[in-house]
Amino acid sequence: MEHIKELLYKMADDLLVIGHRNSEWTGLGPILEEDIAFSSMAQDKIGHSQALFQILHELGEPEPDTNAFMREAKQFHNAQFLELQNDDYDFSTIRHFLFDHADQLRFDNLANSSYEPLAKVARKIKGELKYHVFHADIWLNKLGNGNEQSHARMQTALNNAWNYALGMFEKGDYEAQLIADNIFEGEQSLQNRWLSVITPIIEKANLKIPAEKDWEPILGGRKGYHTENLEQLVTEMSEVFRIEPGAEW
């Protein structure tokens, strides 16, 4: 089952970390409606993460709260892309767009996974992700085609995000087995589908994907190598839980 656990951990951590980041917009968005939108997405992401930690628990891993709140940063398997600070709304929107398309395609594929507990959860989750992607596409288009400043900001954010985004498709040690067992299509296939979906939307937003010669995926997150941002995030997230880890909160 190690191959399934590897897949579940990286997904659960991606969702926990991006959910945490999305929730940081609460009270601080550029307009109230966006505070509310990011909060909704944060709740979905954290809920999806919890569902995956629950499957892990059924596979013998610690129960979801302990697993999520008591590990050290180096035990997290999320892509580094997701732990970066929210920064401004430009970077947050670009990350939301790039991650959510990948997330949706991943769950679409997993809805047909041969591993039924995951397939079952994926079928439920993918319906919710439709709205996340819908929201991302609208904002990419509005800001990419907004005014000169918003266009420039979005292009810069896309350039800065790109290699981190490619790091989402870092392969794990059990990649071949996951593909052979029809559990998951594999990161390369997912990345190819992702590129073909996002390219026309990015073009319509009047933005350009960086030239392919400059693509250098930022790897390591899946294996526990992280930026200092994750250390801060995990410390903050577990601050209360660690006061009394065994207690009911």
Binding site: H20, S23, E24, T26, G27, L28, G29, P30, I31, L32, E33, E34, D35, I36, S39, S40, A42, Q43, I46, G47, S49, Q50, F53, P64, D65, A68, F69, D88, Y89, K142, L143, G146, N147, Q149, S150, R153, L233, E236, M237, E239, V240, F241, I243, E244, A247, E248, W249
Partner: protein, 329 residues
Amino acid sequence: MYGNAYIDPNEKANAMLAGEDPIKLAEFEARIARGEKIEPKDWMPKEYRKQLIRMIEQHGHSEIIGALPEGTWITRAPGFKRKLALMAKVQDEVGHAQLLYSAAETLGKSREDMINDLITGKSKYSNVFNYPAYTWADACIIAWLIDAGAIINQVANAKGSYGPYCRALDRICTEESFHLKYGHDNVVTLATGTPIQRKMVQEALTRWWPPIMHFFGPSDKISSHTEILMRWKVKMASNDDMRQQFLNMYVPKIWDLGLVIPDANLKKNEEIGKWDYTEPDWDEFKRVINGGGPCNAERLAVRRMAEEKGRWVRAALLRKDEKYVTPLA
């Protein structure tokens, strides 16, 4: 979450009615007396409009400023269940601001103007949010007892005379009743938990008791003349009546949990059916509402920063050919 509108004690009743057409005014007051709702396009006295804008706007500001002390605990909430619930709760509060600003916009002030008045310090918000939420337990006490107070105020105001505000409040109260359950569940968990948890929640209650007593506004004895606002059903209950209602409903529940309320004089006077308590420090209240509280500067600075950082986004959304439309409410 919201306490009570802070009404300037220097305003005199006769000045409030100066220059109004007596026939229209009489018709207007008769409608309110019959229990009719006033709608955006109806005639209304200038002072009615002014007081409602101020009140609804203050309420809206309280919701977004209130999201700050609680919002800082979203990223620290212990465990999935609490994290999800707190996110949903604070999201509701921001949604309330959206509803309330829309209701105030029907009276002729744009959301942008209201937010500008907030960040320049021209308009107020509930005083209670000028105090810090030091620990997770503070966030739990806020969610239970401040929301409880807000419900008392809002249920009363939902029976007021201005249609759009009443409709917004009806929706808000439904959501607040879930917040109350959420807050109570949290406080019960801590109060029946480990010694560390019990200590946390007792300390939070001790810290929050004075702001809670301030929450409904100054005592009727020193509060401004509000007879006209009561007649117009802008203000629906006196500050002291709401405070009594709160004490009656929540002091027994707090005591049931074995928590100590830091007021030795607090007890129910069974003869008159009212609670005796140490008079809150109203000088402190005035000092805080006028900017001297522990968090006033920080709250406004955070809000200003959010407005500043989001300016380019709002500018990118503007379309020259689009006209401003007052929201339906």
